[in-house]
């Protein structure tokens, strides 16, 4: 995956997110303090927010280019988004949530790798499908939201703090699950996280944001060894 941000500018409450970067990892992390602009960046890629200026391209395909007046609607971007609160539809069962995006173009379940049965097998959600969303635990919601995003056949998966709110055991399990999802479905991931350990374990590229600017960018092992970024040192 090659994700390019060209002179991207998004005004936030206290500062402007300003990005000029090329991300080329298969699982790329975006990290930084709370309010650094990480979720805003995901929203811009997904099309939930329109930048003030600049452009975003994924593998040469322009998603948005403010100067050229191009803005592909969210539904045509091919981007699967799992927000931090998972944003599952509360009035639908887990099955209807998972199949929401699969039914879109053809009225039939997505084919090939991106089938319900494959998602059920990889994410272990078979027993959850007929349950109400309100009856699911945090970890179960995470898996259902991942399945829903995957069944829309995305070219890029955006994950906003997928391990947030899970206990240590579930975090470990979800990490393994994410690795498996990446191997089984082969979809590049853009992954927002606060935890250097998590990023080092999962990602091959990391972008560090600070108040809307890039503080560091590179392989996790080199970024996390920098002495000028004390909050991003690996523990132990």
């Amino acid at each position: 995956m090659k994700l390019v941000f060209r002179d991207l500018q998004v005004p936030l409450t206290e500062f402007t997110l300003h990005l000029e970067s090329v991300l080329e990892g298969q699982i790329t992390a975006i990290t930084g303090a709370s309010g650094a602009g990480k979720t805003t960046l995901l929203d811009c890629i997904a099309g939930l927010r329109v930048p003030h200026a600049g452009a975003i391209t994924v593998d040469g395909r322009t998603l948005v280019d403010v100067d050229a007046g191009v803005a592909i609607p969210s539904r045509a971007r091919g981007v699967g988004y799992v927000p931090q609160d998972r944003a599952l539809f509360p009035h639908l069962t887990a099955r209807s949530n998972v199949l929401y995006g699969a039914n879109r173009a053809t009225g039939a379940e997505a084919r090939g790798l991106f089938t319900l049965s494959h998602a059920v097998e990889v994410l272990e959600i078979g027993t959850l499908l007929d349950r109400s969303i309100t009856a699911l635990s945090g970890g179960e919601r995470q898996r259902v939201a991942l399945a829903r995003a995957l069944l829309s056949r995305p070219r890029l998966l955006l994950l906003d703090e997928p391990l947030a709110g899970l206990d240590a055991r579930l975090q470990e399990r979800t990490q393994a699950l994410l690795r498996r999802v990446h191997v089984e479905f082969g979809v590049p991931m853009l992954y927002v996280s606060h935890a250097p350990e998590e990023i080092a374990a999962l990602c091959d590229d990391v972008l560090v944001l600070d108040r809307g600017r890039v503080l560091a960018h590179g392989a996790p092992e080199s970024v996390f060894e920098r002495t000028d970024l004390p909050t991003l040192r690996l523990r132990g």
Binding site: L48, S74, A76, R77
Partner: protein
């Protein structure tokens, strides 16, 4: 109960149901528009649509009489082109009830749409849903509780409508007389027993409307 009393009860139920059904699509559409879109003249439109809530009902009735009368801009056109008379017919009762109850439905619909998490709609779009599909499968189901409350309030308001209906529909027993108008007439004529029977019928209807609304809300809550 006399035949006229029965007529008033049945007619009121039918007219109020009809008026609520008529305003429902407009209430939903305008409620969504006001909740989700910014446009010039929005606050003016909102205020104008809320006017029947604060204007004396007889004043609204007077305006309706002017608009819908034979020589009025709307009534004249309807009569000349379609041969449809509004004023002093059952249609006037439906129109008066619709106009008087519309602001309540609109307000409830607007709040209901404002309360729907827009992030859910955004995520639905990333899953390939068109704006129409997002509306029918996400926005509307999530707003339905508030919409239902609006429908119940509008129906209950229509049941109690008096001032505007009196002016625009008259009080013709067996034709345009609603429960409220019939109670007024019975009191005027000193027929207290008839008035009391109609008061009881009115209370039963209002209770049934509110109770049904509450039940439906509870069932809906249970499903969530």
């Amino acid at each position: 109960m006399t035949a006229d009393e029965w007529h008033a009860i049945v007619f009121t139920c039918v007219a109020c149901s009809l008026s609520t059904l008529c305003i429902l699509p407009f209430g939903v559409a305008l409620g969504w528009l006001l909740a989700r879109r910014s446009f010039r003249g929005k606050s003016g439109l909102e205020t104008a649509l809320a006017l029947p809530l604060v204007l004396p009902p007889v004043a609204t009735g007077m305006l309706l009489l002017r608009l819908l009368g034979r020589h009025g801009p709307i009534g004249g056109v309807l009569e000349r082109w379609f041969g449809v008379e509004i004023v002093f017919t059952w249609r006037a009762v439906v129109v008066a009830a619709a106009v008087m109850s519309f602001p309540l439905l609109l307000r409830a619909a607007r709040v209901a749409f404002e309360e729907v998490d827009r992030r859910l709609e955004g995520v639905a779009r990333t899953l390939g849903a068109s704006d129409a599909r997002v509306f029918w499968t996400i926005t509307l189901p999530l707003a339905r509780r508030g919409l239902l409350a609006g429908v119940v309030m509008a129906f209950a308001r229509a049941l109690g409508e008096f001032g505007a209906t009196m002016l625009v529909a008259g009080n013709i027993p067996g034709e345009t007389a609603t429960i409220s108008l019939s109670i007024y007439r019975a009191v005027q004529l000193g027929e207290d027993a008839s008035a009391l029977r109609l008061v009881c019928a009115s209370a039963v209807l209002a209770f049934a409307a509110l109770w049904t609304g509450e039940r439906m809300l509870r069932v809906h809550r249970g499903r969530r």
